[in-house]
């Protein structure tokens, strides 16, 4: 057998991330749930905001949209991080999942832009 050099320690499973296995307790899960309920309630109220109706200006429309998107994303992130345990698991899982999320958002946003959905032109029948 040829000379085998002594390898660097820790090489055998180089991707192994040494997390202490944390778990949220049942009480913490209930708290997260209640937080999500509150955010949902705020979302519904926001959607009916009287200051963002059909006659709203650009700032109000932006706030309306932005607020809803923010709250939606927050809920998404919280459910993924806590209920789906991503916070406590190996980063590989986070990367693989969010790769899909980011790719989907980016690609479909571009598609909607080509349909000029976010401009002032009339949506609908004409390109």
């Amino acid at each position: 057998m040829s000379e085998i050099s002594v390898p660097v320690a820790g090489d055998a499973h180089p991707d192994l991330e040494h997390h202490p296995e944390e778990h949220a307790s049942d009480r913490q899960f209930v708290k997260v749930f209640l937080g999500l309920v509150v955010v949902t309630a705020v979302e519904v109220a926001w959607a009916y905001a009287p200051w963002a109706d059909d006659h709203a200006g650009r700032l109000a429309t932006a706030l309306y949209w932005g607020g809803l998107m923010l709250m939606m994303s927050f809920k998404f992130f919280i459910i993924a991080s806590y209920f789906m345990h991503l916070r406590f698991d190996s980063k590989v899982l986070t990367r693989v999942f969010y790769a899909g999320v980011v790719l989907a958002v980016a690609v479909y946003l571009i598609v909607l832009c080509t349909f000029q959905l976010f401009s002032n032109t009339t949506p609908g029948f004409a390109p």
Binding site: M1, I4, V6, P7, V8, A9, G10, D11, A12, H13, P14, D15, L16, E17, H23, D26, F29, V30, F33, L36, V37, T40, E43, V44, W46, A47, Y48, W65, L68, M69, M71, M72, K75, F76, I79, A80, F83, M84, H85, D89, S90, V92, L93, V96, F97, A99, G100, V101, L103, A104, V105, V107, Y108, V111, L112, F115, L117, P123, G124, F125
Partner: protein, 205 residues
Amino acid sequence: MTDLTAALKEELVGHDHEHVTSTGISNEKLAMWVFLGSECLLFGGLISTFILYKTRAADGQTPHQLYDILFTSISSFVLLMSSLTMVLAVSAVQRADLRAMRGWLLTTALLGVVFISGQVYEFTEFLGEGYGFTHSPAWSAFYTLTGFHGVHVTLGIVMLLSTAALSLRGHVGSHNPESVEIVGLYWHFVDVVWVVIFTVVYLIK
């Protein structure tokens, strides 16, 4: 002696290695997350189709005009709660409390059934008003997106009930709590998609 040197010595002597994964995550769990990553692209396509088409109805009657937001908000709350009960089921099996696990799994499934019933009710209301799947691009997109989501929920309910049943026969238990966790991942994903649908389809004007 480092892991690698030990492994080298094992190879020289002819012994095989124990099965440990390179990332430290089990194959099944990694596979479920990889799959969920792909599902984002599927639902993203249907959501974008809806966003594009939501105002396109020749007679101007779009889904938005018929929503009962209060009703749908309650549905959302039900699904959200089912995510909580799912997490409690996983917690139970990790403590080796199989009875509690089954209880929470059945509760989750029940809440799922309530959610689906709400959807079915909503669809029949719309159908009753004459707005079916074939009415216009807007309605085709609405039913397709929410229908796909509903089918995913239904498959999830089947998986929950199967898991509970399999635990009675010893196939699922304290020796493999991860299988419950993996079913849970699917269930939470379905909930998370609803989080997006609720906002994008129902709330945004």
